[in-house]
Amino acid sequence: MSIARSGIRSMLSKNVNIISGPGCPVCVTPSSDINSVLELVKRHDVIIATFGDMVRVPSGGDSLQNYKNVKIVYNPLESLTLAKSNRDKEIVFIGVGFETTTPLIASVIKKAKADGIKNFSVLCMHKTVPAAIKAILDDKTSKIDGLILPGHVSAVTGSKYFDFIKSYKVTAAITGFEAKEILGSISIMVDNIEAEKHSVINNYRSVVTENGNTVAMKTMYDIFKDTDSDWRGIGNIKLSGLRIRREYEEFDSLKRFNIKQKNIKEAKGCLCGNILMGKNDPVDCGHYGKTCTPSNPIGPCMVSSEGTCAAFYKYMRR
C-alpha cells in the first residue's frame, strides 16, 4: 500500500514491475475460515472482537459487516477488557496476522490465563511468512526476480529468518515503509538482478537486527505451534500456519465451540492465486473492476486495502 500511496510505480522504468505478494494476512484468509467466523457470529452469546479489515472478508456472499455483535479493536488486549465487562458473553478474538502480530495475541492469551478469564478465546488463523515464500519460489512458473521482504515481520523475526532465500535464484531486501526506503531497496535489487547476484540484504537496519525480538518469538511459540494452513488464492501450504498448543486449548475457539471447518470453494474465475504469485496483473482477471470491486470484493487481493487489486483499483486505475 505504501507503494501505491507514494506513487512509486510511476517513478520506475517500465521494465520494473512491482506486484504485491501474499503479504496481507487478512487477504489470505480462506473462505472456510471466514465461514467458521460467520457460524460463531450468529450465536447470541458471542461477541466477535476483530481487527477492522477482517469485517469485509467475504464467504458465501456474507461477511462480518452484516452483524451487530462485532467489535472492531485495534489492540487485541481490548478483547480482555470486553470479556471482563461482558461476563455473560463469550468474547472471540479473530486471530489473524503474521509474526508481527501473533506474539501480541500470544501475550493476550497468556494474560487471559494469568487473570483467570473464562469467557475469552481466539479463533486462530495465524500464518507464518517463510513457508509461503518457499511455496511461491518453488513454483517453477513464478516470474519473480526480487522480493521486498516485510520490515515489520523482520523486526520481530530478525533478518536471519530469511536466509533460506539465498538458495533461490532471486534477490531480496528487508525494507521499511517510507517511499525512500522502498525506492532504495528497489534500486539495490535491480543492481543485484543485473549482476545476477542472489542475496538477502537488510536494508532496514534502523529497526531490524539479525536475531530480531527473541522474547516475542519465544512468546509466540510458547502458545502456538506450526501447522498446515490454507491460504486464500494459493491453497494449502505445509507448516505455514499456527495453532494453539494443548496447554492453552481452553482459549482455542475451535475446541471451545467444537467448530468443524467446512471446505468452501473459492469464487470461480478469480485470479488472485496467480496475482499473488506475480503471474497475472489485476486487469487480467475477468472479475476485476466488474464483479469484484472494493465495495463488493470476491478475492483476497480486493478484500483488504493492503491487497494488490484494491490498491490497483484505488490508486492506479482511473
Partner: protein, 331 residues
C-alpha cells in the same frame, strides 16, 4: 450493488453517488436537482436567488471532542448553503427522538443549537418533534433544512472550476473524523484532536464582499477531500492535480492515519472548505480564513474527470471517490 442498504452506501463515496444518480436523479430529476450541488439554487424574479438545502444528522455518539450533534446540525446546513454563496436566512429543525433518551442530553443539544445558530447569525423558524419506540432509533436524530439568499451576480458551483484555477483548502483536514474515531472508541490512542465543526457562512460573506472571482466552494464532509474534489472534477469536467506536500494535515491526525492505515484525503471534515478560484483571489481567501488556508493544487484542463496527486516522494497517483468505508487495518 446488493439489494439491501449497506452502511457503506452512507459513507459519502462512490456507492452513495451511484445510488443518488441511479435512483434519486433518475426518478425525481429536474434542472435544479440534477446539478447536485450542496445547496439548490432557485432562480426567481427578485434581485435575490434562493438557496435551499437539507441534511439529516445521525452522528453517534452525540457528544464528541470539539462539538456535538446540535452544533453539527446547524453548521452542516449553513455551510452547505454558503457553498452556493448564499447568506443563510432561516433553518427548520426536526427531531426524531428515541423513547428513553435522556432529557438532559436533549437540553444540552438544544443549548448547543441556540449558541451555534447565534454564531452563524441564522434563525430557527419552524420545527417538528417525533418520538419512536425504544430500539427503533438511536437516541437523537436531527434534520435541518436551510434557506438563504444569493445576491444576483454571484455564481458559485461545483460546475464552475476553470483551467488554471488554484485549489485551496481553508484548514487542516481530517480532524473531525479522527475526533469521531476517538469518541467511538475505535482508537484508544492518547490524542487530543478536536472536530473542526464550525459555521463558515460569515467567512464566505466576508470573502464575497472582497472578491467576485470565486468559482467553487465545497465542504469536504463524508468521503473527504479526495471524494469532494473528484466530484468537482466530474461536474466541471476538469483535471485537478494536488500537491501532497502542501495539503495541511495535523501531526496527530497523520500519526493516527499511519498507524491504522487510513488515508487522510478520505477523512470527513465539518469546518473547512475547498475553494477553487483564479490565483488573484488567493490573498482574499488568506485574509478571511487566515494562514491555515493553503493552495493544495491546480485545475489543469477542462476536458476529463481526473484527480491526480503528486506525492511527497515525487510519484504520481490517481484518486477517485471513496470506495468503501475506511476501517482500522491489522498492520
Amino acid at each position: 450493488m446488493n439489494n439491501k442498504i449497506s452502511l457503506n452506501l452512507g459513507s459519502g463515496g462512490r456507492e452513495m453517488h451511484k445510488f443518488i444518480s441511479e435512483y434519486i436523479v433518475k426518478k425525481l430529476g429536474n434542472s435544479v436537482l440534477n446539478r447536485l450541488d450542496d445547496a439548490a439554487v432557485l432562480e426567481n424574479r427578485s434581485d435575490l436567488k434562493i438557496a435551499i438545502t437539507t441534511d439529516s444528522y445521525v452522528v453517534s455518539p452525540i457528544f464528541f471532542s470539539g462539538g456535538d450533534i446540535g452544533k453539527l446540525c446547524v453548521c452542516g446546513t449553513v455551510n452547505d448553503l454558503a457553498t452556493s454563496g448564499a447568506k443563510p436566512y432561516a433553518l427548520t429543525l426536526a427531531f426524531i427522538l428515541e423513547e428513553g433518551t435522556s432529557l438532559d442530553d436533549i437540553k444540552i443539544v438544544i443549548d448547543s443549537i441556540a449558541r451555534t445558530a447565534k454564531e452563524a447569525g441564522v434563525k430557527i423558524v419552524t420545527g417538528d418533534t417525533k418520538v419512536v419506540e425504544k430500539s427503533k432509533g438511536d437516541g437523537i436524530y436531527i434534520n435541518t433544512c436551510g434557506i438563504g439568499f444569493i445576491k444576483k451576480g454571484i455564481n458559485i458551483s461545483t460546475h464552475n472550476a476553470k483551467t488554471g484555477d488554484i485549489v485551496m483548502v481553508t484548514g487542516s483536514i481530517g480532524n473531525h473524523e479522527v475526533a469521531m474515531l476517538k469518541a467511538r472508541e475505535m482508537i484508544n490512542f492518547d490524542i487530543d484532536v478536536k472536530s473542526d465543526v464550525a459555521p463558515l457562512n460569515k467567512k464566505v460573506e466576508s470573502l464575497l464582499a472582497l472578491t467576485n472571482k470565486i468559482h467553487v466552494i465545497k465542504d469536504p464532509t463524508r468521503g473527504g477531500l479526495a471524494s469532494a474534489l473528484y466530484e468537482i472534477c466530474g461536474n466541471s469536467k476538469c483535471e485537478i492535480r494536488l500537491f501532497e506536500k502542501d495539503i495541511p494535515v495535523e501531526k496527530q491526525v497523520l500519526s493516527v492515519c499511519e498507524l491504522i492505515g487510513y488515508d487522510p484525503l478520505y477523512l470527513a471534515n465539518e469546518g473547512c472548505y475547498i475553494i477553487i478560484c483564479p490565483k488573484e483571489a488567493e490573498r482574499h481567501i488568506k485574509k478571511v480564513f487566515g494562514a491555515k488556508a493553503k493552495i493544495i493544487g491546480r485545475v489543469l484542463s477542462n476536458n476529463r474527470q481526473e484527480l491526480a496527486v503528486e506525492t511527497k516522494a515525487g510519484g504520481m497517483r490517481k484518486m477517485g471517490m471513496l470506495e468503501t468505508m475506511q476501517l482500522p487495518r491489522i498492520c
